[in-house]
């Protein structure tokens, strides 16, 4: 920025479609990735070329080829088929944990903010308490204590999952509850449950949806991690984290561990793309930039 004669920057006005693409292109790509995985998961029996648990010892550790697109693992099972079936567990666990944990946390935080006083204090201290444990370690301890299995791991994750939602919901309700429409609803004589669920929640739901979306990827990551440690699914269930664990020692046969990892990466990135896009879309400041 030197001299008087500065460059005059004329903003290049992009055509609407290009502007849309720049703003929401990644989000659309993310949505496409997620829809693709959802379809693969739902139609796994038709989409998978082989039975995911069919053992073929003679054809073990075969590199990717036209017969086995992503190669075979140490037991000769088709890696591609196992990845497709693995999508079922990952997506199911991700959605279950985030939806149930999110619902519980949101209701708790919303109720706390709306009730105020000692009830709010008690509920939020409880939230802080669970929050002060690193999720993966607490989930690991619980999962190990409950015993290995998908259901138990989901329970362990649920125990540690809700606090962030109750914190966000509380701060959202606090900003909303002092607004005039809430006062109006109280004057009309609606009860607290009606006001909280029917009046405040719809107005505050945007940031919650963003958190849910971003968190779906996170939940899938944590579950895959627990599975990788052997605390997730019972073998021989096809699951992405467990598949990476099975291929961990096989550096020469890189395809066994690499492809399931790429599957995790793609799903998590998909949810991050969509979450970021939603956040921009909901935030008028970001939308106008």
């Amino acid at each position: 920025m030197s001299g008087i004669a500065q460059r005059i920057v004329v903003p290049v006005v992009a055509s609407p479609s290009r502007r849309w693409l720049r703003r929401y292109g990644l989000a659309a790509a993310g949505a496409a990735i997620i829809v693709a995985w959802l379809l693969l998961a739902i139609f796994a029996p038709w989409a998978a070329p082989y039975d995911p648990n069919f053992v073929d010892v003679a054809g073990r550790l075969k590199p990717p080829s036209s017969v086995h697109w992503l190669g075979t693992d140490a037991l000769g099972r088709d890696v591609a088929s196992r990845i497709i079936y693995g999508a079922r567990i990952s997506l199911l666990v991700g959605f279950t944990v985030v939806l149930i944990g999110g619902l519980f946390g949101t209701l708790l935080g919303g109720a706390a903010a709306y009730m105020r006083g000692w009830a709010e204090e008690a509920l939020m201290r409880l939230t802080d308490l669970v929050f002060c444990f690193p999720p993966i370690i607490l989930a690991m301890a619980i999962a190990a204590a409950l015993g290995i299995g998908t259901g138990n791991t989901m329970i362990a994750m649920l125990v540690v999952w809700w606090p962030k939602f109750s914190r966000l919901a509380r701060s959202l309700v606090i900003t909303q509850r002092s607004l005039e429409y809430v006062e109006a609803a109280q004057t009309i004589g609606f009860g607290p449950a009606h006001i909280l669920l029917r009046q405040i929640l719809p107005n505050a739901v945007g940031p919650l949806i963003v958190l849910v979306t971003l968190d779906l990827g996170n939940a899938i990551l944590v579950f895959a991690g627990l599975s990788f440690l052997g605390l997730g699914v019972v073998p021989p269930t096809a699951e992405w984290g467990a598949m990476v664990a099975e291929g961990r020692e096989l550096v020469q046969q890189w395809w066994v561990a690499t492809f399931p990892g790429i599957a995790i990466l793609s799903v998590v990135m998909g949810f991050n793309f969509v979450g970021d896009g939603l956040r921009d879309w909901l935030d008028p400041h970001a939308r106008n930039r």
């Binding site: 895959a224 990476v244 291929g247």
Partner: protein
């Protein structure tokens, strides 16, 4: 200020005590049975052996008595005896902690040194190639599974290219230095053993990059967002209008104001690194707390699990407390509220 600090401190102390209660209840009410995992099926079928085992480890006492024993032990610095290693848990932890502290510190340093400038540059040069690189990098960083990233790094740089050393803290042929702090880099430097120092440093490269991945992504993202916010404020426009140089506007005006969210995140991220080390340490055979935690969890070693979770929770509470304090220092308005 003193009132603010003391009330935060009291709160932190209460949280730590409550945290021990939560840990205790979880580890004692769940069905996992250390008797079976420790004695094996054959011995566990003999009632006398089982009773003796339960009595020896105090498993036959009422729940509250056991919590009281646990708590008064903690107050004396006694974290109990590991059922697996049969050593005091605190000794185990003291053995394993330095490896994790060293790894997490290097990883944290790495993510700060790369993440902060990258986030600032991405915000200043918005929509430029550096912004795109920063965003792509941070997105991959937060999306890639740590354990998978660890495998890929090992497979590529150790397996295929052979430019990095394999798993572990040192080569098998290297002699570990006499233990002073347990941090290999510091111990070797103090003793002037530079060959081993280089070996330890080389072994740190891959695991610290892997561990830094997620934190790096978060720090870059947060710095970029906070800087964008700060740069759009009126005081930045005023500073520019006054004719201050761009560098001074960015570094002197915008950056200090953008630091608040980064400090919060940075503090929590460091505490999370200690916890996140579980995956990295497993893949890299790193003899640290993460692996110890995992092994204790798998063998349902209650005293060890309880001690580790209590310590990690205490670290979290402490870090939160420090973050609150730095808030008060960075933003005087916080204390007034």
């Amino acid at each position: 200020m003193i009132r603010y600090v003391s009330s935060r401190l009291a709160m932190a102390a209460v949280m730590v005590v409550l945290a021990t209660l939560v840990i205790f209840l979880i580890s004692n009410t769940v069905p996992g049975d250390p008797v079976l995992t420790q004695l094996g099926d054959l011995a566990a079928s003999n009632p006398a052996t089982v009773a003796e085992f339960r009595h020896k480890w105090g498993l036959d006492l009422p729940l509250w008595d056991r919590y009281w024993i646990f708590l008064s032990g903690l107050a004396h610095g006694d974290f109990g005896v590991s059922i697996v290693s049969r050593r005091p848990v605190l000794e185990d932890i003291a053995d394993y902690a330095p490896a994790t502290v060293e790894l997490a510190s290097v990883a944290f340093l790495l993510s700060l040194v790369v993440g902060l400038p990258l986030g600032v540059m991405a915000a200043v040069k918005r929509d430029s190639w550096i912004d795109h690189v920063a965003r792509a990098l941070s997105l991959v960083g937060v999306s890639a599974p740590t354990f998978w990233l660890a495998f890929v790094m090992l497979a590529v740089f150790y397996g295929a290219l052979d430019v990095a050393p394999g798993p572990g803290r040192l080569d098998p042929v290297s002699f570990p230095p006499a233990r002073i702090t347990g941090l290999l880099l510091i111990d070797t430097a103090l003793q002037g053993d530079w060959d081993t120092f280089h070996d330890a440093l080389a072994h740190l490269v891959l695991p610290s990059i892997v561990l830094a991945g997620a934190t790096l992504g978060l720090i870059t993202r947060t710095t970029r967002a906070a800087m964008l916010e700060a740069l759009s404020q009126d005081y930045v426009r005023v500073a520019k209008a006054k004719g201050l140089r761009a560098r001074i506007v960015v570094m002197g005006h915008a950056l200090p104001n953008a630091m608040l969210p980064v400090v919060t995140l940075g503090g929590l991220a460091y505490a999370n690194l200690l916890a996140g080390a579980v995956m990295t340490e497993t893949v890299f055979s790193w003899p640290g707390l993460g692996r110890y935690t995992f092994q204790s969890a798998v063998s349902v070693d209650f005293p060890a699990i309880m001690a580790i979770t209590a310590i990690v929770a205490a670290i979290f509470v402490l870090v939160n407390f420090l973050v609150d304090l730095s808030y008060a220092l960075l933003d005087p308005r916080v204390v007034k509220k």
